[in-house]
């Protein structure tokens, strides 16, 4: 019998090694798997390459992982926001690398990796500094830039409802990059707010099919990044 349940967030992330590439779901605060990120901080893996749209806020979640100096490189589209302090400081001190990728290209590179497509052409960045050094090609008289797939060793993801086979649904705009990241990582680890038996999610409503999920851990009352920041919390 397939059962992908994991007893704790600590055990779920225990085999993430130093130097791993880790995708982290979420767009800003929405959909950020705070408990799994904090477990990764406790676990202590270093020299990580982290893929997320942003670089975290305040001193919790992704920002805390970066602040704990576990991240060698960030791959993201928008590394600063009003409450983003940790990454900008380290970046300006030359202590963390940054690969900037337009948001739609980031999504498609992740999707392509999950779909087994090694590269694709996009009109995004044509004529800009972000296209410099990249292969371009014309289709129907219009130039396009080639972009490679983007894979990861692990993805850590937050969902709303999971069954024991790893079929997932999300909540509103907390979905964002997560279904794509589930497809693109060798090992996908999901924290779910609600765990149900197989058959309890209508097959028509499954957003991420269980084939893309390896481990599920139940976190019934997940904290939200904005709530922690409003309370001026930090981690560890």
């Amino acid at each position: 019998m397939i059962n992908k349940m994991c007893p704790s967030v600590a055990e779920a992330v225990a085999d993430i090694p130093d130097g791993a590439t880790v995708m982290i779901g979420g767009f800003g605060a929405s959909g950020s798997p705070i408990e799994l990120i904090h477990a990764l901080i406790d676990h202590g893996a270093k020299d990580l390459t982290v893929i997320n749209n942003n670089t975290g806020n305040g001193e919790v979640g992704l920002a805390a992982l970066i602040g704990n100096r576990q991240v060698r490189k960030m791959i993201c589209s928008f590394p600063r926001s009003s409450q983003s302090k940790v990454f900008p400081k380290l970046y300006q001190e030359g202590k963390i690398e940054l690969e900037i990728v337009p948001q739609g290209t980031l999504a498609e590179r992740i999707r392509a990796a999950g779909a087994g497509v090694p590269a694709f052409y996009t009109p995004t960045t044509v004529g800009t500094v972000l296209a410099e050094g990249k292969e371009t090609r014309e289709f129907n008289g219009r130039p396009y830039v080639m972009e490679p797939w983007l894979k990861a060793d692990f993805a850590i993801i937050k969902c709303e409802v999971a069954d024991t086979l790893g079929n997932l649904t999300y909540n509103k705009t907390a979905r964002n990059f997560s279904p794509l990241m589930c497809m693109a990582a060798k090992t996908t680890i999901v924290q779910t707010k609600k765990l149900v038996d197989r058959g309890d999610i209508d097959p028509e409503h499954v957003v991420t099919p269980g084939i893309f999920v390896n481990r599920i851990v139940e976190v019934t009352d997940p904290v939200h990044e904005d709530t922690l920041i409003a309370a001026a919390r930090s981690y560890p």
């Binding site: 600063r80 995004t124 004529g127 979905r175």
Partner: protein, 214 residues
């Protein structure tokens, strides 16, 4: 000299040029105000690139849903008929040409329709592009709302952008505090002057030649 249109009036003027039934993406800042000035009898459906169609206005504080945000990471609501989707679908809507109008703010626009609104290129700046480069390449009509000049009086409508561009030849129409301006094969062309504003004033505050209203 006149002060021209206010921020709200610029947004209202831009809204007049969006057809009924359009799927619309609004950038951060003055473009967000467009949603307050939908002309009577028209319906626009708002797309937010983090994954929703049918975005509604901000909620009251006690009705906030922490999982319901827009691309500017502000809390929003979902209108009846809304849908949620992941980022690859969201940017397929953009890149695939399914969104009708995008309204953006900018630092500079060139006479050839190039837009520079993501980076000043300063050596100590942290680059942050978000979805801007995808939007300008993919959306059918790129509208820009901007003050005609910077706070220091420097023109923002110029011959060539000095900042790193977001996209080349992508802007179709510009709404400033002084005028509505089209990008044509011959460069900037005034379509309409704000009440009390003269063409000479617009020309004086534009960084290159601009054609008078036809």
């Amino acid at each position: 000299m006149s002060t021209g249109w206010t921020r709200e009036q610029m947004a209202a003027r831009a809204a007049q040029d969006i057809p009924d039934g359009s799927y619309v993406n609004l950038g951060i800042g003055i473009p967000e105000l467009v949603a307050k000035f939908v002309p009577e009898g028209r319906e626009f459906i708002y797309h937010t690139e983090n994954g929703m169609l049918g975005m509604g206005p901000p909620p009251d504080d006690d009705e906030r849903d922490l999982d319901l945000m827009n691309a500017g990471k502000k809390y929003v609501t979902a209108l009846p008929g809304a849908s949620y989707f992941h980022h690859a679908d969201s940017f397929s809507m953009i890149r695939g040409g399914h969104i009708d109008v995008c309204v953006l703010g900018t630092m500079q626009v060139s006479a050839h329709g190039d837009i520079a609104n993501w980076s000043t290129g300063a050596p100590d700046a942290i680059p942050a592009v978000g979805g801007a480069m995808d939007l300008v390449q993919g959306v059918k009509n790129i509208f820009v709302i901007t003050q005609h000049t910077t706070r220091n009086g420097e023109p923002k409508l110029i011959e060539q952008c000095s900042y790193p561009v977001t996209g080349v030849g992508v802007v179709s129409r510009i709404f400033t505090d002084l005028a509505v301006v089209d990008i044509t094969p011959d460069g900037f062309q005034v379509v309409e002057l704000a009440p009390g504003v003269t063409f000479d004033e617009v020309q004086q505050k534009t960084g290159t030649s601009i054609s008078p209203p036809a």
